[in-house]
């Protein structure tokens, strides 16, 4: 039943410890912390790209990290179906690496935003969301300057038709409208899967809604679901 995750640490990652804590508390053992210059990974059940400012967000968020030595290994693991989670800067890296479609642009208001947002879970049918119900509203913090998801109409249609949208920014009542959209993201997209739902990228930070001192614990089922799905 052992579950083992690897958290990739880039220069400038700063949520690596936070997500490691959430994984450890959920799985009972700490994840492997892997420096970005490594070129191979041991056998792991999950690869995590954490939040932060890899390479200072210079050039474009995630652009340089996407060229790190470890990314070649991550792509080959991805081809083999190993689940990959990217949170915030991790989501940006996944897009820059071509593992997820689209890009994350500067927030529509051009400012960094750190606050709780409400999200609508679009599907409970994935290894990342199996502890949530489709349509459930959860409250999770965001903290980013570049979370404005953008893709062309064809990709957006495809995401919809393949049921690849994981979370959308919504009102607490479940309405998907501009008032609920903190950054201008297309279709209020907060997180997306790849076609086979083995990769998830999301801007909100579930590790920040995990323990009793946080403003709610809606992120806890996220980790519990992952560990349960992958520990078997």
């Amino acid at each position: 039943m052992a579950f083992r995750a690897a958290v990739i640490v880039f220069p400038g990652s700063n949520c690596d410890r936070d997500i490691a804590v959430a994984l450890q508390k959920t799985a009972g053992q700490p994840p492997l912390m892997v420096w970005h210059t490594e070129t191979s990974l041991p056998k792991v059940d999950l690869i995590v790209l954490p939040g932060g400012f890899s390479y200072g967000d210079y050039l474009r968020c995630g652009a340089m990290a996407a060229q790190s030595p470890i990314m070649r290994e991550i792509k080959s693991r991805s081809d083999a179906g190993v689940p990959i989670l990217g949170v915030c800067n991790g989501f940006q890296i996944l897009c820059e690496a071509g593992l997820l479609p689209g890009v994350l642009l500067r927030n529509a208001q051009l400012k960094f935003i750190c606050r709780d947002v409400t999200l609508k879970v679009e599907t409970g049918q994935s290894l990342f969301t199996n502890r949530y119900e489709a349509g459930q509203i959860i409250r999770i913090p965001i903290a980013h300057a570049d979370g404005n998801y953008f893709a062309d109409a064809q990709i957006l249609d495809q995401l919809e038709s393949e049921n690849s949208i994981a979370f959308r920014y919504s009102t607490p009542e479940g309405k998907i409208d501009t008032s609920a959209n903190p950054n201008g993201a297309a279709k209020n997209i907060a997180g997306i899967f790849n076609k086979h739902k083995t990769i998830l990228g999301l801007m909100p930070h579930p590790e920040r809604a995990y323990d009793s001192i946080h403003n709610g614990i809606d992120g806890r089922p996220f980790f519990e679901g992952i560990v349960q799905a992958l520990a078997a």
Binding site: P11, G12, C15, F53, G56
Partner: protein
């Protein structure tokens, strides 16, 4: 002065441009026994600048209490250190970056954050939180919006990237800051109590090592700039503002933490104001040794930098270390891993001199101790600030209290700061236990159930009206804010922002504020462990309000016991603890509603502060009260309204007779807390036992704030008033 006292190429004007007056230049001649060359003059200039030498303030700073059984390191190091139990120490300091922020708000504020972070992690502490105390000019002044936007973006841009949460602070607006905003940044870090690093160099022959970013031509003479008044052409000084790189800072933190876990480091010092000069000088001086540097070995960003430029550059994200002999490789491997520069640039000597070589030539040779000992210290003339008359509440026209409340909630000094703190990552680290908007920030000590409470406070208008009472009040308000979340207040860092000390009335403000702070620190067992002085905050001869910004830290032994300002349920009894006389002089109400900046500020009774505060803390620890808010700007009415907003529920209040309603609602008497409790009799009984005045005001609940016989305002309307000012101002 005779031309023979100058080295070749140096003139009286060049000396003057280095901020040294005639008397100081003579001192330099005596120290050296010959005229200084340009490099040496530059070194005298920065080492004896107000910013580095505290020459106007030293005499008075010595009056502040700095010791207590829990103080490990008081003022004099990069940051102060206190013991917080269980093998841990809290390391903190606050520092100003006022002048650079006015000239170039984004970079000025960003590098202010970077500098204070380095002061803390230099000591071996991992930074766990940032706070900032900001003062801007009148919102109607054409520059204010630009400064707010730039400073806030700069603080966020730096702190967010390095991954240290920005958890608290304060903001005031006043026309006295029109030409001189204040940006005071505070960092709190945590270190193992037996792994504190200092700047004291030891071991003759030990290598002097430079790590971090390369040295460029930026920020040359920043310390001298920070020691002069502003004039209209100050903006032409923009090239003296440094440029920050938070990404490099993040790498530097991680590399230093990794190296500190080994036993390679003898001493370490960040290169802050006056860069390589003050860091190498101070390290050698503290160790009573000499130092020899080869400037050709210093990693430079640009070609053909002169020794003068290398020594005076204030390029950011650099550190100087003394390593144990033979440990260079261990250290270099770590810094290379983090893609940072690493260079052995010299060694310690037994000569007691600072010798600088460039291309095998000696370009400077200065005696260290004599230079430090001969640093000017002034007993500047000062005059006591004249006392202002007390204004009786009965002489002030009563207005509709509900309209006044609405207006105050919407005024610049009270309105919600959400627009600001939503641009700060206040949650990274996942240990933030109390978010912004309360009395004090609370950050968990990682992996434990303990935490630190932290706050920054000062009420400049009180200090202006009565420096001594204002100095007291700044300390007690910080102490009160820590108490109001349930923390035991432990120690203080101060950031003394004043005008030109060469003016006796400004020096009088400084002396008065220090005296008040001293009294309060002594009465509350609240020592000052670090600090910073920023003088010459004047433009065209107009000084800022005297602003001794206080940063403070307290300990929480059990995070499950903390309270916030939000009443968790309806039906709780609201009790006012502490005595209310209805002091309206110098109040926010008088200024914002009646347009009068007048009168003596509320007196601070230190024994009452202690008595009421200790009672409140005990009640919180016993779980007797479920929400608590200290009373400050705007008095009871503002505290009530803020509690309603935080709890998203109303309250019904009745007022006592015998005091004019506006004095009861908006008076700013000190030593008061508003608490919500499910067991009011217990609170009253404990208050009686402690000799503390307690008054039941009413109950929490409903969707409006109802003031019996006076009026009613809905929580939604209060929220609208409170939340709309700052975003509206920034968008207009």
């Amino acid at each position: 002065m005779d031309a023979t006292v100058y080295s070749k190429g140096i003139t009286a004007d060049i000396v003057k441009a280095h901020g040294l007056n005639t008397e100081e230049y003579e001192r330099a001649l005596n120290v050296l026994g010959r005229p200084p060359n340009l490099v040496e003059l530059g070194i005298f200039s920065v080492m004896w600048s107000e910013h580095c030498s505290y020459k106007s303030s030293k005499k008075w700073l010595r009056r502040l209490p700095t010791s207590a059984p829990w103080v490990i390191q008081g003022p004099g190091e990069n940051a102060g250190v206190i013991d917080i139990g269980e093998g841990l120490a809290a390391v903190f300091k606050m520092e100003s970056h006022n002048h650079p922020s006015y000239i170039e708000p984004y970079q000025g504020a960003a590098t202010g954050v970077g500098g204070i972070l380095r002061d803390v992690f230099t000591m071996g502490a991992r930074p766990i939180a940032n706070l900032n105390a900001l003062r801007f000019g009148d919102p109607r002044h054409p520059k204010t919006r630009h400064l707010v936007a730039g400073v806030v973006a700069g603080i966020g841009g730096y702190g967010n990237c390095v991954g240290v949460p920005t958890v608290g602070g304060e903001v005031n607006f006043h026309s006295s800051y029109n030409g001189n905003c204040l940006v005071n940044a505070m960092t709190v870090g945590v270190a193992p109590v037996d792994r504190i690093f200092t700047a004291k160099a030891t071991g003759i022959g030990n290598p002097v090592v430079y790590v971090g970013s390369k040295t460029g031509r930026d920020g040359i003479h920043g310390a001298t700039m920070a020691s002069a008044e502003f004039t209209e052409d100050s903006e032409a000084k923009r090239p003296t503002v440094q440029v920050g790189d938070p990404f490099t800072e993040k790498l530097l933190i991680e590399a230093c933490m990794e190296l500190m876990a080994t036993d390679a480091i003898v001493a370490i010092q960040d290169m802050g104001a006056a860069g390589l000069t003050s860091s190498s000088f101070e390290m050698a001086s503290k160790g009573g040794l000499g130092v020899e540097l080869k400037l050709d070995q210093v990693p430079c960003r640009e070609d053909r930098m002169t020794p003068y430029e290398i020594m005076l550059s204030e390029s950011q994200e650099r550190m100087l270390m003394i390593l144990k002999p033979g440990r260079e490789t261990v250290a270099e491997d770590i810094f290379r891993k983090w893609q940072l520069d690493f260079a052995v640039i010299g060694h310690l000597t037994d000569t007691g001199r600072m010798v600088l070589r460039s291309h095998n030539e000696i370009v400077a040779d200065l005696p260290i101790d004599p230079l430090a000992e001969a640093a000017p210290e002034y007993d500047r003339p000062w005059v006591k600030t004249p006392a202002l008359p007390t204004i009786a509440a009965s002489t002030i026209t009563e207005v509709d209290p509900m309209a006044a409340l609405r207006k105050l909630m919407h005024c610049p000094d009270v309105a919600s700061r959400r627009w600001i703190w939503e641009q700060y990552d206040h949650m990274v680290g996942t240990d933030t236990a109390a978010r912004l908007g309360g009395d004090a920030a609370v950050v968990r000590l990682h992996g434990s159930n303990r935490g630190l409470a932290m706050t920054t406070d000062c009420t400049p208008r009180y200090v202006q009206a009565d420096p001594q009472q204002g100095g007291r009040q700044a300390i007690v308000e910080a102490w009160r804010n820590l108490t109001a979340v349930g923390a035991l207040p432990l120690a203080v860092t101060d950031n003394m922002n004043f005008g030109n000390p060469e003016r006796p009335e400004i020096m009088g403000q400084f002396v008065g504020a220090i005296e008040g702070m001293r009294e309060a620190c002594l009465a509350l067992d609240f020592p000052v462990i670090s600090g910073n002085v920023s003088l010459y905050n004047e433009t065209e001869g107009k000084a800022i309000l005297p602003t001794p910004a206080i940063g403070a830290v307290g300990l929480i032994k059990d995070l499950s016991k903390i309270v916030s300002i939000a009443p968790p349920e309806s039906g709780l009894t609201l009790v006012l603890l502490g005595k209310t006389d209805g002091w309206l002089g110098c109040s926010l109400y008088l200024r914002e509603i009646h347009g009068r900046e007048e009168g003596a500020p509320p007196p601070v009774d230190l024994s009452a502060e202690r008595k009421v505060g200790d009672l409140v803390r005990n009640l919180i620890h016993q779980g007797t009260i479920s929400a608590c808010h200290d009373l400050s700007d705007g008095g009871l009415a503002i505290a009530l309204a803020e509690m309603c907003l935080a709890g998203n529920m109303g309250a019904s209040i009745s007022l006592p007779s015998g005091i004019p309603p506006h004095a009861f609602l908006f008076g700013e008497d000190q030593a008061r807390y508003l608490v919500a409790t499910a067991v009011a009799p217990k609170v009253l009984e404990a208050a009686t036992k402690s000799g503390v005045t307690a008054l039941i005001l009413g109950q929490s609940g409903g969707d409006s704030l109802k003031l019996d016989k006076l009026g009613i305002i809905s929580v939604d309307e209060l929220r609208q008033a409170h939340e709309s000012w700052l975003p509206g101002f920034m968008a207009s």
